[in-house]
Each structure stands twice: as structure tokens, then as C-alpha cells.
Amino acid sequence: MKKLFIIALSCAAFAACKKEEDKKVTPVTPLTAVLERDINASGARYQFYSIETGDTVPVTDSASTKWDIAFRSTTVLLNGGTSGPGQAGVIILDTLFNEVTTAPATGYAQDNALGKGIPTGSNNGWYNYAGDPTHTISPLAGKVFVIRTATGKYAKLEFISYYKGAPVAPNGVTDAGISRFYTIRYIYQPDGTTKLN
């Protein structure tokens, strides 16, 4: 489970990287992006996950602020509102991951009785459901989820895959057995500021 892929953010954006080098700007220590593979959301219970520690959280801690986000099939919970005791909420932006440099101060949607902060349904929240005949679930590209964590810190997150191993072209029918495994990528700001790069 603990396969952490560290990507230096400044090098993920090649063009930006080159420019910075050319200008010889001394950057503040850049935050690193975490690529978390294959979070198992196929069980009957939610799989809880802490963005702060980058690890899963046992279900026994579900009533605490130790977790930020939880997954069960296509439903995603945030630790706040009706889902937990934390402060977690989300702002969904239609943009590129690298272009989100600051988390907004307000406007975070929390899970509530009418719906989730990250809405369920095809093209509503984080995924598209292809319907007949493939029934594939595909994360929407260009959706960046700015997350306020359970403890009130900030992160930005994107969904990469719903299938184990993040195959290039999953098929909802033939790959049904490896579905419900989330691959996500995020950048967490531990210092409590809204700066996300």
C-alpha cells in the first residue's frame, strides 16, 4: 500500500521549471506531490485516509479527526459536516493541477444531508460513467479539488484512476474485478498557510 512516488513539483511542469532555472530564482522549498496508488475502496466499509500522514486510517478512528477523506466505490466523503467531526471541505476547480497555487480562504463545501462535498454521479463530481457498453468509471481530467483537511490545513488533489494499477485504458466490464482502487495525486501544505506550490 505504501508506495509513495515523490515528484518534485517544479520539475513536473517542465516549461515552468526551465524558466525558473534560466532566471536563477532561488525558490522556497517546493512542496512535493504525492502519488498514492490503489487505495482499496472495494470493501463494505469506507476506506479512511489521512492526507496529512499519507496513510490509511483504521475504521476505529472514523469518529476522530485523524482522517481527511474516505472512499467506498465511487462515493467520496470528507471529514466534516455530516460525515465526521473535522473541518474538511472542498472547492472544485476546472483548471490544471499546477495552476492552483493558493487555496481560497472561504467557500468550502462540506458533506451534508442533501449531498456530498464531492458530489456523486457521472460528471457531477470526480468521475464520468461511460454507461453502455463499457460502464467504465473515468476520473475527469482538469478537475482540481482544493481540500481543507479535518484539522483545517490545505491541500490540492486530483483523481487519476479507479482501477488497480491505473491501467491506460480500463474497461468497466472486463476490469470490474480491479475496480474501486483509487489512484490520487495531491500536494499537502503542512504549515497551515494557503500556499499550494
Binding site: L35, T120, G121, N128, L140, A141, I160, V168
Partner: protein, 701 residues
């Protein structure tokens, strides 16, 4: 006795063979016939005076290609792309196949599977010619003529000699066609009959499965026409058609107990229609009263061994009745046309709510003027009244032709076309029990949703319920401009046509609500998208020497969605690389427009006829450029390289030799370059042979 017969038929009433033309009854000059076109204006017009983009395929070429099915023939024409989703259909000017109206002798062919008339249902054996009008300028036909009209014109019994023809043809790998054609004229009565039988025992390309890519089938088409010329002014007659298809296939599926079992598919279609007409002509006046009645029934079942329920079951019945009257008055180059009519349709299908009946009335007016063979123009309008007279759908048109000199002419036309929402979009009631999603037609969605709520299911709306409304027709405005250059009159003709279609209110099903019981999505239909299509079609036809014709056609088309373009402009359309997970913004240049349209397509045809040795040969090269296949990266648009199907070239050749004026032997080789694209076009079989023989038993000249 004969008199009695004609009265009976007169009472039964009314039909009009679109082509039937005054005072030409016994005319057999092929050239004269070829130059008369009817589709664009609903009146007989000389091709060289046509004001709109119009082309035709005449019998000489139809026969020379050795085509059995209409689809094979149309595939070779400039500006026509076939689509094979839910039946073979035809795209014109970048509009999808459901926007092409297919007529048989001026009357619509009913029985549409998801909006498309399956062209593989139509055999070419008794077709005299096919007229193709592009753009909505033939709006006098009403709904569905947005992209254009294809009018299949069969032999006109009133103009035939007595003859009996029999032909047999075999097309590899597995289609055998027999057809018999007979026509008799005695004094005032003409009768024409054609019977065609196609038989195929199917073929397989992938031998690892038991499924046959070419399904085994049998189909029969019987066509009859009876025409009676009562006296100099009155003419009456009736046409009948019966079509039957039975298609079978097998496949292997895994059942619930994880056993591999054989599934059997059986599809059947019955279609019967009859079309009486009466026609009165005197001096400048022609009155046509015609009726068209069609009954269509199709069933499709897939059953598996050891499974009780059908894996797939579909049944569809449609009854269509139409009555129409048209009056033409012509004098000194002016032609006035007025028409009125109505139709009634009844549909029963297991996919829809109960039984559905609809009726619609319409009127149309048209005025044409020919000024000294220099300027011709045509204005017209059709108004439809669907179900009641509260709503009106208006389709005006205007077109003009300027013959600048004998080398140069310009045609300009514009008009509005529409497509009425189909039965499925209005009344569909479909639930996929396996996955749990439902699709409801717009007219029944509210009722069905409230029903679910009453049954205790919580329904969460993503689109407010009051946004669900009866659908408006999809509609378009179109503009066409064409230049026609004849550097060597009657030998070399060059035409180039620019077209643009602005289409709005496209109907699409999108998720409206979610059932909380099973998280099942509920879709319904809305008038949503706005798209445009534009392009250029160019044709060169050159008679190099007598009996040697070369033609070249080129078509450029693009079709794009305005919302997508706007979103791209706003930087809201993205694409993720599945390997690096990097997301980038899609650029306007990368947006490939609507799927299944080749930006570039081309054809070259060479026809040679040798009168001395009585043979002809016809070589056709058909190029279709790459086209959008499917959205693989899930951003709902065509943008990445791998989302395109590759282009291809077909080389088709045929040779026909005639012996003693009555025996014809035909040999054809289609797809001589042996092109195969199993992933995209399973029916493309590689090289295909066609062997045909026909004989004319009786031919009173």
C-alpha cells in the same frame, strides 16, 4: 371490364409516382429522362436548370457497379459518408444519418431503428436512378430533410416496354441475389413487377469465435406498380411493396453460473406498403392526389441455452398513413405549386410507453420562375402542424441560379430544415435492470419520475424537474453557394459548392436525477446543443472521348459543437495523458469535431463503354480520410490521435459484356487493394468478387 378495373382502382385511390410526368408516357429516350429531376422542387425540372446542390446516379452507372444494396452504391458518391451504427445510414454535409430523408418514389421509407432507415434494406435491382439533394432546400418534404434528401426512383411502369428480365448475382463471400423484373403495357394499362431475393449463409473473419461478422440472412422484396391511363386527362394507379428479412446469428456468452453457453439471435422485419394515386393533367394544370400507407414490424431476440429469459428482446411496430394533394400550375416560365396533406402514425414497441399515435398536417407553397433560361429562382415554404394547430413548424427556402454564359453558372440557396423529435426521444421507457439506469422520453419523464417517488424511491434531481419539457424539433439554417464551370460545354464540367449548416436544439439524453435506492441514474432528453457543419464539395466530370468518362470528386467537411468550442476558449476542456497522468488543456486545433466524419474524402471514377464489342468497364477509387472513432480519454470530445479510425482507399472494378443484346455477364472486384479494418469496419472483407448474369427474355421495342 377494363373500365370497371380502373374505377375500382380510382376509388381505392391515389398515389403518385414522384417521377410521373405529363405527356412523356411513351418516351423512351434515356437521355431525356436522365436530365429531368424531381426531388428538389417536387415538380419535374431539367437538371441543368436546378437551383440547388443536386446530383444523380443514373441506371447505366448503377448497373455498371454491380451493386446489390443501395449502401454499396452510395458509398462511392462524393459527399456521402456511411455510418453503420444501428443500421447503415447516410451522412450528408456533415449531418448525422438521421437527418437524411430517404424517399422511395417521393415517399418516406418508414421503420427507423433509432432514427436511421437501414439502407441495407433497399435493393437496387429495379432502381432507375437515385437523386441526391444536399442541404435542407428540399424542405417541402417536411421533417428529417435537414441534411438532404435521397430519392430512390424505380422504373416507371407507364413508360416501359414489355419486358422480362432475370438476373442472378453472387457476391463473395456469401451473398446470392436472384431477381426477376417484368413489365407489360397494353393500351391503357401498365404493370410492373420486381421480385428480389437475397440469401447469405454468413461469413466469419475471426475464426476463434462462433460469431459470424456477416450474419446469415434471407430477404425478399416484392415491388409492383400498376398504372392506368383512363383518358387524356386522368391517370391512376397503385404501388405495392412487400419486404421480409430474417437474420440469424450465434455467439457464446457466460451465464450466471459461469458456464459458457451458446446464444442465438433471430431478427425479423416485415414491411408492407401500398400507395394509390390519381393524377389529373390538362394544359397548364397538374393535380396529384396520392396516399402512402406502410406497415412495418421488426423483432429481435437473443436467447441463450439454459437461460429462460431473453438476453435481448426488441419489438417495434409502426403503421403510417399519409394523404397528400399537390397542384401545379405553369405558364410562361412561371410555376406555382400548392400542396396540403396529413399523416397519421401508430407505434407500438416494448421500449416505449404503451401505444403511441401521432398525426400531423401540413401545407406547402412554391413559386418558380425561369427568365429566358438566364435566371431561375425558386421560393417556397412548408408549414407543419404537429398533432394540433397550436404549434407550427415553418420551413422556408429560397434558391436561384444565374446562367452567366454558356461556360459559367452560379447557384445560391438557403433554407430552414427541421427534424421532429422521434418517438423514442418522446416516449422511451427503458430501464437497464443489470446496471440500474433508466432512460425516459421527455414527454413521459415527469410522470415516470413521480411514479418512482410514489413507490417510495427518493429521487435526487441534478436538473430541476420543471426543466423537463416537451421537445422542440431540431432545426437548422443552411446556406449553399455553387459555381458551375463548363470549359468545354457538354464535355467538361467543374462544380464547387460551399455549404454551411447551423443546427440548434439538438436532442440529447443527459442524466437528470439519481434513484437513491440503487444509485441508478435517470436520463431524459433535452434540446441542448448547437453545432455547425461546413465544407466544400467539388466535382469534375470529363468526357475524354466519346464513351470514356472520368470523374473526380472531393469533399471537405467539418462539424463542430459550439459549446465545446466555447469551453475550449474558456480553458475548460482538458485531457489527461494515461501514462504520465499529466493533464493539459485541449486546444481549438486539437478539437476534431463530431465523431465519424472524415474531414477529407475523394473518389475517382473511370467509365468506358465500347459499343462495337458491346462491353463496359467501370473503375472506381474511393478514399475516405481518417475519422473520429471514439472518445478514449474521456473528456467527451474528439481530440487525441488514438481517437481516430484510420483512413482507407478502396479500388473497385467491374466489367460487363453483353451478348446478342440480351445476355449480360458481369464480373466485379471490389476492394482490390484488399483493405481490412476489422477493429473499425468488421464488414470490410478485403477483396470481394461479384459475378452476375442477366437475361432479357422479351423486349418489344
Amino acid at each position: 371490364m377494363k373500365h370497371k378495373l380502373s374505377i375500382v382502382i380510382l376509388l381505392q385511390c391515389l398515389y403518385f409516382i414522384a417521377f410521373s410526368q405529363d405527356s412523356l408516357h411513351t418516351e423512351t429516350n434515356d437521355n431525356a429522362i436522365e436530365e429531368i429531376v424531381v426531388t428538389a422542387t417536387k415538380t419535374a425540372t431539367k437538371l441543368e436548370k436546378s437551383t440547388v446542390p443536386l446530383s444523380q446516379i443514373v441506371q447505366k452507372y448503377i448497373k455498371a457497379t454491380g451493386s446489390i444494396k443501395l449502401a454499396d452504391l452510395l458509398l462511392e458518391q462524393t459527399g456521402i459518408q456511411l455510418s453503420t451504427f444501428l443500421g447503415t445510414g447516410v451522412q450528408l454535409q456533415g449531418l448525422s444519418a438521421e437527418y437524411t430523408l430517404i424517399l422511395l418514389n417521393g415517399e418516406p421509407i418508414v421503420g427507423k431503428n433509432a432514427g436511421v432507415v437501414d439502407l441495407s434494406r433497399i435493393v437496387v435491382s429495379n432502381i432507375k436512378k437515385v437523386e441526391i439533394v444536399k442541404g435542407p432546400v428540399s424542405c417541402l418534404y417536411g421533417s428529417d430533410a435537414m441534411g438532404g434528401v435521397i430519392n430512390i426512383i424505380t422504373e416507371d411502369a407507364g413508360k416501359l416496354r414489355n419486358s422480362v428480365d432475370y438476373s442472378v448475382q453472387y457476391k463473395t463471400p456469401a451473398i446470392l441475389t436472384n431477381s426477376l423484373f417484368a413489365s407489360f403495357t397494353k393500351k391503357k394499362v401498365s404493370f410492373e413487377n420486381s421480385i428480389t431475393h437475397n440469401f447469405s449463409n454468413g461469413y466469419q473473419t475471426n475464426k476463434e469465435t462462433i460469431y459470424k461478422e456477416g450474419s446469415p440472412y434471407n430477404d425478399f422484396t416484392i415491388n409492383n406498380k400498376l398504372t392506368v391511363r383512363v383518358n387524356d386527362n386522368w391517370q391512376t394507379g397503385i404501388g405495392f411493396k412487400y419486404y421480409f428479412l430474417k437474420l440469424k446469428n450465434v455467439d457464446e456468452i457466460t451465464n450466471d453460473s459461469n458456464e459458457v453457453v451458446v446464444s442465438n439471435q433471430v431478427d425479423k422485419i416485415h414491411e408492407f406498403n401500398f400507395s394509390p394515386f390519381v393524377k389529373f393533367s390538362k394544359k397548364n394544370i397538374v393535380l396529384n392526389i396520392r396516399s402512402y400507407n406502410s406497415f412495418y414490424k421488426s423483432t429481435s431476440h437473443i436467447l441463450a441455452e439454459n437461460i429462460d429469459t431473453d438476453l435481448y428482446s426488441d419489438s417495434y411496430k409502426q403503421l403510417f398513413n399519409k394523404l397528400e394533394a399537390q397542384l401545379d400550375y405553369s405558364k410562361n416560365g412561371h410555376v406555382f405549386t400548392a400542396g396540403a396533406g396529413g399523416f397519421y402514425t401508430f407505434v407500438k414497441s416494448n421500449r416505449n410507453i404503451d401505444k403511441i399515435t401521432q398525426h400531423q398536417e401540413f401545407i406547402y407553397l412554391q413559386y418558380q420562375y425561369d427568365w429566358k433560361n438566364r435566371i431561375m429562382f425558386n421560393v417556397g415554404n412548408r408549414t407543419d402542424f404537429p398533432n394540433d394547430f397550436k404549434i407550427q413548424w415553418i420551413s422556408p427556402k429560397a434558391s436561384a441560379r444565374f446562367n452567366i454564359n454558356k461556360y459559367f453558372a452560379i447557384k445560391v440557396s438557403g433554407g430552414r430544415g427541421y427534424k421532429a423529435p422521434d418517438i423514442r426521444q418522446q416516449y422511451l421507457n427503458f430501464t437497464n435492470t443489470l446496471v440500474g439506469y433508466s432512460v425516459f422520453g421527455a414527454n413521459v419523464a415527469v410522470q415516470k419520475l413521480e411514479e418512482l417517488e410514489r413507490l417510495g424511491d427518493t429521487v435526487i434531481y441534478s436538473i430541476p424537474k420543471d426543466r423537463i419539457k416537451p421537445l422542440s424539433p431540431e432545426s437548422s439554417w443552411a446556406f449553399n453557394a455553387e459555381v458551375e464551370i463548363k470549359p468545354i460545354p457538354s464535355k467538361l464540367t467543374i462544380t464547387a459548392n460551399y455549404f454551411r449548416n447551423q443546427i440548434k436544439d439538438l436532442i440529447e439524453a443527459i442524466p437528470t436525477a439519481i434513484k437513491s435506492s440503487n444509485n441508478g441514474l435517470i436520463y431524459t432528453y433535452y434540446n441542448l446543443n448547437k453545432v455547425y457543419t461546413q465544407g466544400v464539395e467539388a466535382n469534375i466530370s470529363y468526357q475524354v472521348i466519346k464513351n470514356l468518362n472520368i470523374s473526380v470528386g472531393y469533399n471537405f467537411v467539418e462539424a463542430k459543437d459550439y459549446d465545446v468550442l466555447k469551453n475550449i476558449e474558456d480553458g475548460k476542456v482538458f485531457r489527461r495523458d494515461p501514462l504520465t497522468y499529466e493533464t493539459v488543456r485541449v486546444t481549438k486545433k486539437e478539437y476534431g469535431g463530431l465523431l465519424n466524419r472524415s474531414k477529407h474524402s475523394m473518389n475517382v471514377k473511370i467509365y468506358y463503354e465500347n459499343k462495337k464489342y458491346d462491353f463496359n468497364t467501370y473503375v472506381r477509387v474511393i478514399y475516405r480520410g481518417k475519422y473520429g472513432w471514439s472518445d478514449l480519454n474521456n473528456n467527451q470530445i474528439l481530440d487525441a490521435k488514438e481517437e481516430y479510425a484510420p483512413g482507407y482507399v478502396l479500388l473497385n472494378f467491374s466489367f460487363t459484356k453483353t451478348f446478342k443484346d440480351r445476355y449480360h455477364v458481369m464480373v466485379g472486384l471490389d476492394n482490390m487493394l484488399n483493405k481490412k479494418l476489422p477493429q473499425y469496419i468488421p464488414s470490410m472483407q478485403g477483396i470481394t468478387g461479384i459475378f452476375g448474369f442477366s437475361v432479357n427474355f422479351l423486349n418489344n421495342k
